[in-house]
Symmetry: C2
Subunit: 427 residues, 2 copies
């Protein structure tokens, strides 16, 4: 273990360097907690396994000389003091809860890249002017407790602390109970509005969870924004009838307009390139009998866009398509069930990420985040940016999730450069 | 109860007349066995309730002076002797088992219309030259035991008796056991090939189970043929991926070609009018998550046509569409799982049905049967025709199934005319 050398013994400044092996070793150690037979991780938020992982993070952070603070929603902050403690902290982090059949890198990478940055600074004997903090946000995945991105959401005021604490899992256990059981029901205020410290800047490193970087053969994704999302439930109602005795002309088949809409969702997204995305993920057909014309079809629509105007155009196009396909024989209802606005990241911080990749001699490209991340909520309270690294075949939320040690180290290097540039090196 | 007057007391010949109220009363009495709260019937094949219904039929048949024969698959034949017992019987009938949420008319009507014909002849003091038989075919619905149309299928040699007897329900009870328990494991041979008597002609009256007659405002459907059916399972395989981070251009969405195929099924049917029918009844999407691009979609296709060449064209068009939509990113497999060939009914018998409607002054139109019926199997062994009457909104296999007493009586009148014309009135 290397601690920052005390001032009295200060050696000449060395260039800080990310240790790829050390980062990988910590990732693999964390991945053993809840490891699955297929090489993934099952460590749902605030379970005993999550508690073990949280304790391991705290131990590592304390070994690096950090102080550790836990807030009322269980977010953990490991703090490395700056030389000017009046400055707001430069934060980084992510989450260490996983999907039920999750991978080893989603979230975990962002947290451990943060610790690796601190240790690299220690190794190089560098102190920053602003304090640095590594955050572990509670229940990002939302697999056990809804809403998702719970810890960062409470921090940013997306929903109230009480709402989050009262959320119960399928067995009726609440977040409040689960936090108490782990002893992670911290005393520190969770919401910025309640006095939680606001970051001076926040960077989050994450595997891309998509195929863009790998497809382009690029190491660093400079994330300029997170796509806004609108989720819908669509219900098409016709009349079920026997497939045999009912001629084509006398049918009220709910599936045909549904199928047309499914294709329309793709067209709507294609009209909004490069960032428009449209997906139908669930389809339920009733009565679901081989020789019965479907009387009712329900399906989901997920529309995403980088800017609000684009998302509004997509919404309008969907509703127009629904209008055009509705008729006296078949009715169609659209209900919007979720809405996340697009979130542009801070231009100056995005510039620091870009510069960090430049300085480290890494290939880079601007990308958008198609998925939600804790950083998207944090961005509501502080200047924020994200760094993506490739993951194998773009696969995530899957035990097969994989990433190369060199890419993970490259992302951490960019994180190090950006945090250092933001926090400032103490004289 | 009126029996045919003995020869010695013969009165002048009266025109036989269907009694609409009596037919309706028998239908309602039978519908009480297994009646559901919603006005339907749940009387699965060879259950205790089916046994009660079978005994009621037998009682009614014996009250009309019929002899009753039960064959090895439990088919019941009520026989009214002819004056020339060397002639093959003119048969009619249908089934009295129902769907789990079935109606009061499907099948039951054909059986009780047959009894009403016998009673009308009795009332009029008419004896026929050929004997008449009313058949109750075992397990037409196939809801409890597969294959469907079991009794008529064994009779016609569509599958072996042993295969049918060995069929087990979800609880492991076999047809053989269920028949024994009811005492309906008859001694008479079931298959024509094993010596079961072949009908000289067979007529089946049935509710249409579709909307054509009601839509056209016509009372009698003269059924010229039963559509052939080909059933398929289609599996589309792409790659599941996150809806957010995966740009449109890098997707392998299994749902899009599936949706295109669903619409193509309709086009294929529309190209084969008036009798072509194409239906997608079941759709299963995996992993079925709102924000995951579907990696696999399975759906069913049901194609129907009145002639084999047309059905073959539809099959070829489906396979061509699959070829056209397949690509390296998304594979599509089609497996044919069921095939019933089209069955044209006997032209002379169809003519008798047409003439019967004509003579009774009833509106009529030629129709095809889109669904399977016992008559479709019987047609493999004997000249066969069917008579359809309207049912409310074309709804069947549903507790809401309904039909008007006058229409039911009209169908029975046509059945009476046709059977009498075929069997011949004894001098």
């Amino acid at each position: 273990m290397t601690l920052a050398a005390p001032d009295s013994l200060r050696e000449p400044l060395r260039a800080p360097r990310i240790d790829a092996d050390r980062l990988w070793a910590r990732l693999m150690a964390l991945a053993r907690i809840g490891a699955t037979d297929k090489g993934g991780v099952c460590r749902l938020a605030l379970t005993g396994l999550d508690g073990q992982a949280r304790e391991l993070f705290i131990r590592w952070a304390r070994e690096l000389g950090c102080t550790v603070r836990i807030d009322a929603i269980g977010n953990i902050f490991a703090r490395r003091p700056g030389t000017d403690e009046s400055l707001p902290a430069v934060g980084t982090g992510s989450h260490i809860d996983t999907q039920p059949t999750g991978g080893r890198f989603d979230g975990n990478y962002g947290v451990l890249a943060g610790l690796e940055v601190l240790q690299a600074l220690d190794d190089a004997g560098i102190r920053t002017r602003a304090p640095l903090e590594v955050a572990v946000w509670t229940n990002e995945e939302g697999s056990r407790f809804v809403p998702v991105m719970m810890g960062s959401g409470v921090h940013a005021g997306a929903f109230p602390l009480e709402h989050a604490l009262a959320a119960a899992d399928a067995g009726g256990v609440t977040v409040r109970q689960a936090l108490r059981e782990l002893g992670h029901d911290g005393a520190a205020p969770a919401a910025v509005a309640d006095g939680a410290p606001r970051f001076g800047a926040y960077f989050e490193a994450h595997i891309e969870q998509g195929p863009v970087l790998e497809d382009a053969g690029v190491t660093i994704g400079v994330v300029t924004a997170a796509l806004g999302q609108r989720w819908y439930d669509v219900t098409v109602r016709g009349m079920e009838a026997h497939a045999g005795p009912t001629p084509m002309g006398l049918r009220r088949d709910a599936l045909l307009p549904a199928a047309a809409l499914m294709q329309k969702v793709r067209e709507i997204a294609l009209a909004e390139q490069p960032h428009g995305r449209g997906t139908v993920g669930c389809v339920d057909v009733f009565p679901s009998s081989r020789n019965v014309i479907p009387g009712r079809v329900r399906f989901t629509v997920d529309l995403r866009h980088a800017d609000e105007a684009g998302l509004a155009r997509m919404d309008a196009a969907l509703r127009e398509a629904v209008r055009a396909l509705s008729c006296p024989e078949v009715s169609i209802e659209v209900e919007q069930v979720v809405c996340f606005p697009p979130q542009a990241f801070d231009e100056r911080l995005v510039g620091l990420v870009r510069q960090g990749a430049e300085d480290a001699g890494l290939t880079r490209m601007d990308v958008v985040s198609g998925a939600g991340h804790d950083a998207v909520y944090v961005a509501r309270t502080a200047p924020t940016a994200m760094i993506f690294v490739p993951c194998k075949d773009g696969i995530s939320h899957n035990e097969l999730e994989d990433a190369r040690p060199a890419d993970l180290a490259a992302g951490a290097t960019v994180l190090l450069h950006a945090m250092l540039a933001q926090a400032g090196v103490a004289d």
